[in-house]
Symmetry: none
């Protein structure tokens, strides 16, 4: 969880959006929700849309103004569909998320979303240190609010995992482990022998065919079990072929 | 727009999700939607949720099966909540998006989403070259379908703008181009028929063997030429087998 990062929704008109935003937050490990003058809250629709993240709604802090909601924050970023002012620096979501994560190490930071249709008003924009844009279709940038919350929370979560692109690779064991090269070669030999036995391809192209077959099976990164399965198939074929061809 | 990238939604139960997905797609400049056996479509709820992206719904292609929806695709990626199998390579959304953008330069690619609750079924997973995970809260990964579509489309859009560090993949042409799913299936059918003809494996394990064979050949990401080569090998074997076994 991110105890120093809060998501602030301003003057939300549809309670369903509050629920969807809570759900979006929780999927990305964010749980501190502030609601500035919501039209309806609490609301059954918000709870229903929050699906399993009712705790985020229950702990939500309701305020009258954005000023109040960010009073104890050192850093305030606001989502904005277009770069609307040169007075507040603009940046994209990915960059903003990195900055938020870095700053949240020892600052209280807020990520603010305006009203569904109109966005933040001028007073709200004036409280922001950055305006954050989500890159989107220039001809149809109509992201709904919950989607915008989802995307920015995702970028925050991604940023929190650092620039570490290494996926934790699950290593398999036993028969699901990658076959050794020797084991793989035993299959390739059997395959090439079968190829000769059934007279596939002419003499001239033989070496090139062998190389191609090898590359394609190499690419499959076969497991032990798969090598054994393929060898089993070759043996089954061999048993059906006449002894003398 | 991305003419070579399609978004495929499988067996969607709530029409509202189809509308929300269409909207999410369009915000990120994606407009080719395929619907596999949707429970209700067309539907007023889908249209209402699509808000301004009704054109995406109007042009949606409805299919009976995922096989049909991706028959002309060379590359199929599927969204999956958790890495569920070691047999299909897993990767994260950002990496997947880079790869999709690169491959879409001259391949038809599909990004598939399973049913809302249950995700893709095993037959659907078997058609995928990659399973794509969206990094999320390990304790609450409950992204709704439209959110998952939104996040992946966003990553695709970001990747298209060059915000990716992936190595440019050299794209092949003609016989070295990736085989379409339909071409690949013609080989798999011949392979399975051969398997039955040579009586490989007992009845009980037959389906599981078929699935394993399919996965290993899927993983090889075969080119047109390689599919033809493998089919040639099967024909050569067939010519040597006695007519009656």
């Amino acid at each position: 969880m991110f105890p120093n990062i809060r998501i602030v929704l301003c003057r939300t008109t549809h309670p369903g959006n509050i629920g969807a935003a809570a759900r979006a937050m929780k999927t990305m490990r964010l749980d501190r929700l502030y609601l500035v003058a919501p039209e309806h809250f609490p609301s059954a629709e918000a709870t229903s849309r929050s699906s399993g993240s009712a705790d985020v709604l229950e702990n939500a802090v309701v305020c009258d103004t954005l000023t109040e909601a960010v009073a104890d924050c050192q850093v305030v970023f606001g989502a904005s569909a277009r770069s609307r002012t040169l007075a507040v620096p603009n940046c994209e979501a990915r960059e903003a998320a990195s900055e938020l994560i870095t700053l949240s190490a020892d600052h209280q930071v807020a990520m603010v979303f305006g009203q569904e249709r109109s966005g933040m008003d001028n007073d709200e924009v004036a409280l922001c240190h950055r305006l954050v844009q989500i890159p989107a279709n220039p001809d149809y940038g109509s992201l709904n609010m919950a989607s915008a919350v989802q995307l920015i929370c995702y970028e925050i979560y991604m940023a929190s995992m650092g620039n570490n692109n290494a996926n934790p690779v699950e290593l398999a064991e036993g028969r699901d482990a990658r076959a050794t090269q020797g084991h793989f070669d035993s299959f390739m030999e059997a395959w090439m022998a079968l190829k000769i036995q059934v007279e596939f391809g002419d003499q001239k192209q033989s070496a090139s065919l062998d190389a191609r077959f090898r590359r394609l099976f190499m690419r499959a990164e076969l497991t032990c079990y798969e090598v054994d399965m393929l060898r089993g198939m070759i043996s089954a074929i061999g048993r059906k072929l006449p002894d003398q061809i």
